[in-house]
Amino acid sequence: MRPRIRDTRLVIPHFLLLAAMLAAPSVCFADETLVVYSGRAERLIQPVLDAFQAESGVNVQMLTADSTALVNRLQMEGDRTPADVLITNDAGSLERARELRLLQPATIPGIEETIPPPFRAPDNSWIGLSGRIWVIVYNTSLVNPDDLTSILDLADPKWKGTVAIPSAGSVYLQTGVSVIRAVKGEETTIRFLRGVKDNAGSFVYGKNRQIVAAVARGEVAVGLVNHYYITRHLAKHPDAPIAPLLTDQEDNGMGSILNAAGVGMTAYTKHRAQAQALIQFLISPKGQRLFADVNKEYPLNPQVTAAPELVPLENFRVANVPLSHLAQLRDPTMTVIEDVGLR
């Protein structure tokens, strides 16, 4: 009978482990935990969530992935989703989630006065938290800023080999191209993308941080990024020879490309009160200060001023494309980007 003893010795620990594992997920989702799906870089959102957790005592758990992937995931999960709150880095994804009935209106006292109407869904299914503009970053010792008046100028062959652009997967690029398409039309957009693609060559980056660093090192003269990556880089390296450039400001020009990171409460949350408390915190002066001071984004609550090194939001022209339109522009924009062959 010896073999039997040896058999059980091998098998039993494994099954114990198996049983423990199967129990694990139920432990993960303790009842009071608020689950946040976040499309933002962990570095940028974790401090804010930590502050909320400290203040409210609500335990927050976060899943980080691409904004689009999270919307797809919410759709697949349907009413079984563990998520209570969706945070994304662009308003298009939020609007898309709203259209798919994955979000529900949040009831936040004083929301009408806190966040201006262009930055939230009409029914408050999603609410913008912080604004970012897609700008040109240029190396101050290589470029005369007067040479560039529009983002579209970057397609000019004279910039060949000196432009850094984000990869096709970047939501910021997708938003930027959507806005250009909406304002300037399909043909201009395709011409712009072809030119930029040729000029960028191999200077295609996955992260805004890398583009800013490349411009600061002088590998390239100009790049396309969200404004706060420049400000953050300058905060760390005050002597870096870089500066942001606000383009398309002339009277009949396109205006700057603005997007908003935002938040929405999921349609099937079982923690309405806590989810709304989180949203309330995020739009409160305290939460907004974190976006303004730590991340250098534009707080959308007018009571909170942007970081002093930024040009105030009301001092420049913004392209006239409502944030909610970004959702329906997305897939055709992706097709244009892919057709041109951006990677």
């Binding site: 099954f15 079984r80 096709a168």
Partner: protein, 504 residues
């Protein structure tokens, strides 16, 4: 099998316009990219694998015994870890560029790691041990008489090598290369960090960048079709190129001692390859880990990731073995058309690269058992689909080595088949099962794309952490989990090497 079917159906029911757009824009480029990557890796693998195997089987010099072991170690570094250390080494203003500029002048520019060259370099350094191992065992069991005949008839050294030795070890080389290419074509980690567009990466991008998965399914289908053609090609090639020992005169090659200067040259070459593929990356990881630890980045969360990875991998490996036993047993002992179909179906997981397997499992689960979506079961299922074939292969060969006579003897003594299995068969195959278990365990620890796409909330694995941190270029934060995975994998690589030695 079922997951694969779902991908096929989704792709087939796709709008014709989607197909047309993909064919005209993405597919040719992706094919070209994947192909040129494979060819590049093949060429470098051949050069590295054959030359290293040749040096180590034909010559003895101080330390040549140790190299046999050291050259296995690159297999223990996951491709994405190697890729991320190389992005740091090769970046502009990085250490390699400084070195290069001090040699070739200040204006010299190094190639970018985010290019075909970069991807080829990383993946070749990651996969050359496959070719090296197979070339080595072929060269070891080589009949030197053939070479001697060539020498006697007046052929020079080079001619002998090219016309006689190389063709003789060709079958092993090709087997090694097929392994390497399969690895390259299904790799997600390295190409995603190096942003080099291959099919596997494109599938992932379509899944995460678009609001519907049709395009991803279409690209998957093309990829899977390519993989099948490739596998069929491999079978055909293997059948065509077999060499047999025809005469009784067989002499093993005897390693020759070599001139000290040559020995120095060889050692230098070996050192260079080893340093690039293993030494330097690991030293970097250790350095970053120390920096991360002293900056206080190692928190209790890290232990959580370790536990997630360890427990999930252990459970998957166990389930794979338990599921694999009947399949492997049936495949060896009771061959019917139904059992063959079943086993071959399980093998399709082999040709499904990570993101495709993830997509398939995702669609499958959400259609059939939606309750499980978003739980750890989905991830488990994806791992199983992906790694069951590896387990099956190991277990099948273990069963094959076992003569049915033993079981028949037990049965003839009146013992029922289940008891026979547990008391006779199982104790004998346990060793083989254990190594299959370890193999699956390690594969799961390293698995990236499916974990990235399917992990439930709060269930980040080590691989996911490495990828998230590395894609932000936060080298220090990505180092501790990377180092841990390498450390866990090293003993396993050495273990497999030892088995390899015993068999040759």
């Amino acid at each position: 099998m079922l997951p694969l079917l779902y991908v096929v159906v989704t792709a087939m029911t796709a709008d014709f316009a989607v197909w047309q757009r993909l064919w005209s824009t993405r597919v040719p480029e992706l094919l070209l990219n994947t192909l040129s990557l494979s060819i590049g890796v093949t060429v470098i693998n051949l050069i590295l694998g054959v030359s290293l195997a040749w040096i180590l089987t034909r010559y003895t010099f101080p330390g040549s015994g140790v190299w046999n072991w050291l050259l296995i170690l690159p297999l223990s570094i996951p491709s994405y870890v190697l890729a991320y250390t190389f992005t740091s080494l090769l970046k502009r203003g990085g250490p390699v560029e400084h070195l290069w500029q001090s040699l070739a002048g200040a204006e010299a520019v190094l190639f970018s790691p985010f290019s075909l060259t970069g991807a080829v370099l990383v993946l070749a350094l990651n996969t050359f041990p496959f070719v090296y191992l197979l070339a080595r065992s072929a060269l070891k069991n080589f009949n030197v008489s053939f070479e001697e005949v060539a020498h006697v008839t007046g052929a020079g050294r080079v001619t002998t090598f090219v016309r006689v030795s190389l063709p003789l070890i060709r079958p092993s080389l090709i087997a090694g290369l097929f392994l390497a290419i399969l690895y390259v074509a299904s790799d997600f980690g390295a190409v995603s960090l190096l942003r080099y567009q291959t099919f596997t990466y494109a599938v992932y991008q379509q899944m995460t960048g678009r609001f519907d998965n049709t395009a991803a399914a279409c690209l998957s289908l093309v990829l899977v079709a390519c993989a099948f053609v490739f596998l069929a090609g491999e079978r055909w090639f293997r059948r065509r190129s077999r060499f047999y020992q025809t005469t009784g005169r067989y002499r093993k090659p005897i390693p020759q001692p070599c001139h000290p200067l040559t020995a120095l040259l060889f050692t230098g070459y070996l050192l260079l390859v080893f340093a690039a593929a293993f030494g330097v990356p690991v030293v970097l990881l250790i350095q970053w880990t120390i920096e991360a630890a002293s900056a206080g980045h190692l928190s209790g969360k890290f232990l959580g990731y370790v536990w997630n990875s360890l427990s999930l991998s252990a459970v998957t490996a166990t389930v794979a073995i338990v599921c694999g036993i009947p399949l492997a047993y049936v495949a060896c002992r009771r061959q019917t058309w139904a059992s063959t179909l079943c086993v071959q179906g399980a093998y399709t997981g082999y040709v499904l690269p990570g993101p495709v397997a993830a997509l398939a499992v995702l669609v499958l689960v959400s259609q059939i058992i939606p309750q499980l979506y978003g739980t750890v079961f989905v991830l488990l299922l994806a791992y199983l689909v992906h790694f069951l074939p590896a387990a099956l292969q190991g277990m099948e060969s273990t069963f094959q080595q076992l003569t049915p006579n033993l079981e028949e003897a037990s049965r003839s003594l009146g013992i029922r088949s289940i008891r026979t299995f547990f008391h006779v068969t199982f104790p004998l195959v346990r060793g083989g099962f254990l190594s299959a278990w370890i193999l699956v365990f390690v594969q799961c620890m390293k698995e990236l794309p499916a974990s990235l796409l399917l992990r439930p909330v709060g269930f980040d694995t080590l691989a996911v952490r490495i990828w998230l941190e590395a894609s932000e270029e936060l080298y220090q934060s990505a180092a501790p989990p990377a180092l841990l995975i390498v450390l866990i994998t090293i003993p396993v690589a050495l273990l497999l090497m030892q088995k390899d030695r015993q068999t040759t």
